[in-house]
């Protein structure tokens, strides 16, 4: 699998993403000022960070970077796009995913281990998980409170485009298991064609038993398996 990790000036989890992708093929870093993706890119990753300081709205300025045109074209061709944390914020600002990420309900940045429920496992991103499985994953964000108008939420739910929901260790949803006040405990959403995923948690930080656990690995393994099964997909 050939991955392209987009580097904005204030990205800071690009190294974490590189490490998670390393076992699954080649990963290249692409500067935000570039206008093209490397030939043969299968997966575009927008990593975590504070792309432009994020003083206005998270991801707002990054969404206008020159490279984003190529990212849109890639997505329109059906190519895979993964936006993690700030990457998710950029994707909604850019319009590849619906909704918006507001300040956390308790108005504090929050970093901790958190469980999320895998809502479906029949996608390129989640085939290595079981539907309904609760996985332990890290969150680290100040603005991860997913909001959209009622119609959008209805559509997302109706089309099964919610990828992950915040839950407790048993997979149950509750107010206390929702760390940031997201509508319907949404932690990640898919695009209409399920080739674009945005999520607030950091699977790339859970790939090592020494550092918190390995529940994040499944996502990268799913992507690699998807690519292996459909080598000429894009």
């Amino acid at each position: 699998m050939n991955a392209a990790i987009i580097l904005f000036p204030g990205s800071n989890r690009e190294g974490d993403a590189l490490r998670a992708l390393a076992p699954h093929g080649a990963a290249k870093v692409v500067w935000h000022g570039d206008r093209e993706l490397p030939q043969g890119t299968d997966l575009v990753v927008l990593p975590g960070g504070f792309s432009y300081g994020d003083y206005l709205r998270c991801g707002a300025i990054a969404a206008h970077s020159p490279v984003m045109g190529a990212v849109r074209a890639h997505a329109e061709r059906g190519g895979l796009v993964l936006g993690i944390c700030n990457g998710f914020q950029i994707l909604v600002e850019f319009g590849l995913l619906p909704g918006v990420l507001m300040r956390n309900a308790q108005l504090r940045f929050i970093c901790r281990m958190q469980h999320v429920r895998v809502e479906r496992s029949d996608t390129a991103f989640a085939s290595r998980y079981k539907q309904g499985q609760a996985i332990k994953i890290a969150i680290a964000h100040g603005e991860g409170n997913y909001e959209a108008d009622a119609e959008t939420i209805r559509r997302l739910e109706g089309d099964g485009r919610v990828a992950f929901r915040y839950c407790d260790a048993q997979g149950k949803l509750s107010k206390s298991a929702n760390p940031n006040g997201s509508t319907n405990a949404i932690a990640g959403v898919y695009s209409e064609r399920f080739n674009v995923l945005g999520l607030m948690p950091h699977p790339e930080n859970l790939i090592d038993p020494l550092v918190g656990g390995t529940d994040g690995k499944g996502l990268f393994e799913s992507l690699a398996a998807f690519k292996a099964a459909a080598p000429a997909a894009v």
Binding site: P9, D54, R108, F109, C111, I207, L210, V211
Partner: protein, 580 residues
Amino acid sequence: MSSHSEKPPITPELVASHGLKPDEYEKILALIGRIPTFTELGIFSAMWNEHCSYKSSRLHLRGLPTRAPWVIQGPGENAGVIDIGDGEACVFKMESHNHPSYIEPFQGAATGVGGILRDVFTMGARPVACLNLLRFGAPEHPKTRHLVAGVVAGIGSYGNSFGVPTVGGATAFHKGYDGNILVNAMAVGIARSDEIFYAKATGVGNPIVYLGSKTGRDGIHGATMASASFEEDAEAKRPTVQVGDPFTEKLLLEACLELMRTGAVIAIQDMGAAGLTSSAVEMGAKGDLGVELDLDALPCRETGMSAYEMLLSESQERMLMVLDPAKEEEAKAAFVKWGLDFAIVGKTTDTLRFVVKHGGEVKADLPIKQLGDAAPLYDRPHVSSAARERIDPARIEPPISNAEALLRLIATPDLCSKRWVYEQYDHLILGNSVQTPGGDAAVIRLGDGPKGLALTTDVTPRYCEADPFEGGKQAVAEAWRNLTAVGALPRAVTDNLNFGNPEKPEIMGQFVDCLKGIGEACRALDFPIVSGNVSLYNESSGKAIPPTPSIGGVGVLSDVGRTATIAFKRPGEQIFLIGT
């Protein structure tokens, strides 16, 4: 140069308002043989205040052990450096931002983190972890909540955006800090041991380059303020608050590291307290060179700034460097790529003078070495604290049952979980946090391992107050124990000595004796002090804080897979108590 061309005229009041004592001013007159200009007075006040000159503490700091075979750089540079094997070095330091954090907790704490990160990456190291040590007033004091919320959010905001995990710290409360909280921040970075960068300039006629944010009127006289104790009206007199911009700092980090790889950097120094003045003077003085600055070229945020303001501004996220003229173009490419302001603002000279020009006029012309070397050095009178009466535990009736005492203890703000604090810090970024906050010491993996570092910050001011010598020893011993408890070999220390007004013999006595204790413990444990910071005049309305010499300890683990954690693992296991 005419010393009368500038306003305001130099009066005893003006001298005093610059924090210079009459005898210190006499020393200036003797040194330069004339009345200083207003700009020069500002320079002296910045260089000779407690914060920059360590005039009350220098004498006593000399007694600390700072050497060991693994020490690459001890105190005196931006940060200390130790060899951790495999061609790698660990660069670290702790620094206080106490007064600014009391005035504006969010920005004060944020810029404290920014400053200490710059100290570390100035040396060529990529920061890998931050820690802090916080002391607040009594929980029920009306300002405490506001201060805690602001400080914690500020530390988090800066470190989280910059992209370095905040992996540990300490937080406690005591009424002795009601009017003067402590915010000590520590940063740790990793570099190749043969690629460390220093502040010492070399070569005559080399360009001095300014890089980073533009200069504004932020914190003018901040360094002087940091050395003046709080009076009731301190809140009215505050200077313009410094605002941190972690995004620019991140760009500065990447640009500096990229620049260093090109071989263009001869010397580098961050502009911290006393800004441009102290960074330029230090670079020249360390290299036995003169420095000539032309302030017309300085990138400014505001119009009409005077030389005095430019020299003393404490605007954040700025660096000064001496570049190899042959590599100027490569250097420029890095500045442009990262979108930072830069300008050639001067050159090195062979005159050993610090010359500042602005608007076609010479605003200052001073002997560069003496600005540092001739700074006052005081052996302040000190008296040791009276020994406290020993209490025989057998003679005390327990006021409550042990079980009740335990419940009360674990409910105290000092002992309760600090999760509320450290959850606001990204402690997982970089994916190397093997032991996260909440344990004895943090453990981070280096690269892909198996090597790692253990990091901790500790002090128990209660002990230092009761017996400064023993308290100083204990702080070091606790740091040492916390490192060994996670399986690390303790290697070196950074300290942050927070005390009251050194002009009071009993406070100076606390300082001297704590330092003796720290020195003795460090010697006994082969645990040298490689960097640190002194923060004096921590008083409000004439009352000093409890003596608080914070200790930051660094240890090395050869295999992070073999670390012990604090939690009991399963029921039925035996519990051992080790020690006396």
